[in-house]
Amino acid sequence: MKHEAHRVCYPQAGGVAVRGWGLFTGWGEGLQSLPTLPAVAMQGQRLLPVATPALASERLRRATRECLLGVAAVQAALDHSCLAPHEVAGARTALVYASASSYAAANWTFVTSETENALHFPYTAPSAVPAEVTIQFGITGPYLTLLSGANAGIEALWQAATLLTTAQCDRVLVLGVETFQACAELYTTGRWLLGTPLLEAAACLVLERHPSLAAVRYRAQWGTHGLARLVAGERERALASVYLCTPTARAGQVAGHYLQTQWPADMSLVLLHERLGICLACAPLIALMLAVTAGQPEDVLLISQWWDAWAMVHWPESSCQAGH
């Protein structure tokens, strides 16, 4: 029984390519809005709120801020991928949604309100954000919401790769939304749960099957020495970069120090909390955007942490991505 993992049933039909993305954060729109000196820019700030998109749609008049951010991020990703909305309508496009916090605003408002609102309650469901996206773009393909805290982003990338390599769809939209503003007081009270500064974000990647790329690999580890066990089998691999996504700055520093001892000095380590702020499940999605933009020829490793859990995806040949 010891560590005998059976790779069965699913054909491994190549890898996955990033076709494009959309990004809104507390820094602005797109990757280019991210600051070059984030530590200076973030100084003294606890929360970097993202601007609520103004979407001219009567249908979305009741939608929450999180829903609007989700729809806007997907629209931006389609634009970046040169895809018209009708090209993602139907059963051959999947939507995988990841979030650690986006349901909190609607839930907390409903918990603390004196008078219920029938129109509000449906938006307390975490599936409300992806629901509005599927309705807006007519998506009826595979559909999943992952809520495993900050690790949900990594899990979403793995699940998207699984859906593509098993041919359950032709294209996957991986969407992450993280918001904190409406519950800022709550997050401040519970600061031991999350580090600061918190960065609000909505990020969407458009992924497609790519037969000549190697398969995306996923691993996760729970418990003591989780990170050490997670990367134990990775040391021999040639990597361009490791992107580390942790929910607190302290965890990031400790884990970053450990990872630097594991790989040669020329391997680049990017600490997402230093680069951006803390944006939980959106961090791995933004990390993949940064990796593709960097255009390095080797593979990259994305690692995230949430409480006792560590998760990673090994993404091959980041320079071969962005095929649009």
């Binding site: 699913y10 054909p11 909190a104 603390t112 449906p122 041919a167 359950q168 859990a309």
Partner: protein
């Protein structure tokens, strides 16, 4: 249309080697089955929190949690976590999972829920000060508690596809095993009744003051319930090597979107239809091979009509020969737990050669004209079953299940 798993070799199948149940009609698999077969109703007046201001004050409430034998440590305070631990303890003991863990197995945990730990947020709001209650309030709080309880070492995932969560979580567990990310997966669904959800459904006026009557012409809506269903998933080959006889198999799965409405199901059932077709393809099973359907069957006018139409669309004339049931009238809609409990019911139907009845059915609806199992349990041993589920946000899921053999 898809490659999936067209011809699964017996050793490649994903086996269910343990099952655990906590439900309003019984705690434990055998009590649950007895309640289903004997037509027991778990619907009572809700007593655990105030309901005086609600239109409907009934539901499938679990009045008292039975003690678990041989616990090494106290249960966490969070009710949702307690539910999960109850069901998981039964499932892991049945699967002899502790032996596998001791031998170095990588155990993953995948839990689906429509509400997560929201009851803890409610508790914190009522009695502020206990900051630790907040740690259980996120959706993933109860899953993390279970992972700690089980000393899991593999992936720990929380999903929410609303009331389809209990099926999607099993599907994700299957994917983890097929990807080699774990050697065993403890998967399932859970939800607890609380004022939050009762207030919400009260305002939506989805709850009935009558009985829940799936597929009946007089059906007026649903009632909510609470519970947990947990299974242990392993590759059949691993189970065989460990000397475990599987309870059954998950042959295929899929979860798809309606893309139609924020709460109501698509009247044409496009997402459900796509889920069933993908799950059948994933299993390598043809529609005409299906021998039993465990329907979502909430007892709402729209859902039951839509589901009936979809079954006819996918199975064609065969739909009129396949027995269909819904167990929502026994215990209410247990939300995230529902589809896992129904999966367990399908495997027990194979084991015992009986299909539990759909309670409170009396008047046929011309728009719901399939061979529903009503009145009493039917003697029948379904080898291949479909289990369908749907939820808010246009979430749909389907599992293709096979009895153990």
């Amino acid at each position: 249309m898809m490659s999936g798993t067209p011809h699964q070799r017996p050793d490649d199948r994903i086996a269910i080697t343990g099952m655990g149940v906590l439900s309003p009609i019984g705690q434990g698999v055998e009590a649950f089955w007895s309640g289903l077969i004997n037509g027991v109703s778990g619907i009572t007046t809700i007593e655990r929190f105030p309901t005086h201001d609600l239109r409907v004050r009934r539901g499938g409430e679990i009045k008292q949690l039975r003690d678990i034998r041989g616990l090494a440590r106290p249960l966490p305070a969070c009710r949702a976590s307690q539910f999960l631990i109850h069901a998981a303890t039964e499932a892991t003991r049945m699967a002899r999972l502790p032996e596998a863990v001791a031998a170095g197995g990588r155990v993953a945990v995948v839990i689906g829920s429509a509400l997560g730990g929201i009851a803890e947020a409610e508790r914190w709001h009522e009695q502020p000060g206990d900051l630790h209650a907040l740690a259980g309030a996120p959706y993933d709080g109860p899953t993390r508690q279970l992972a700690r309880w089980l000393d899991a070492t593999g992936p720990v995932l929380t999903i929410s596809t609303a009331c389809a969560s209990g099926a999607t979580s099993l599907g994700l567990g299957v994917d983890l095993l097929r990807a080699g990310a774990a050697t065993a997966v403890v998967a399932g669904g859970m939800d607890v009744l609380c004022r939050f959800v009762m207030r919400g459904f009260n305002r939506l006026r989805s709850l009935t003051r009558d009985e829940v009557r799936p597929f009946d012409r007089r059906r007026k809506g649903l009632l909510l319930g609470e519970g947990a269903g947990v299974v242990v998933l392993e590759c059949a080959q691993t189970a065989r090597r460990r000397g475990i006889t599987p309870c059954g198999y998950v042959l295929g799965h899929a979860s798809c979107a309606d893309g139609a409405h924020i709460t109501a199901p698509d009247p044409q059932g496009r997402g459900l239809e796509q889920s069933i077709r993908l799950a059948l393809a994933n299993a390598g099973v043809r529609g005409e091979e299906i021998e039993f359907i465990s329907a979502h069957g909430t007892g709402t006018p729209l859902n039951d009509r839509m589901e009936t139409q979809v079954f006819k669309k996918v199975l064609g004339a065969r739909a009129y020969e396949v027995p269909v049931n819904s167990i929502k009238a026994h215990m209410g809609h247990t939300m995230g737990a529902a589809a896992t409990l129904e999966t367990i019911m399908c495997l027990l139907a194979w084991r015992y050669g009986q299909i539990p009845p759909t309670l409170n059915y009396g008047e046929p609806d011309p728009e719901c004209d399939l061979p529903y199992v009503t009145g009493h349990a039917r003697t029948y041993r379904p080898r291949l079953s479909l289990n369908t589920a749907a939820g808010f946000g246009g979430c749909n899921a389907c599992l293709v299940l096979a009895g153990g053999e």
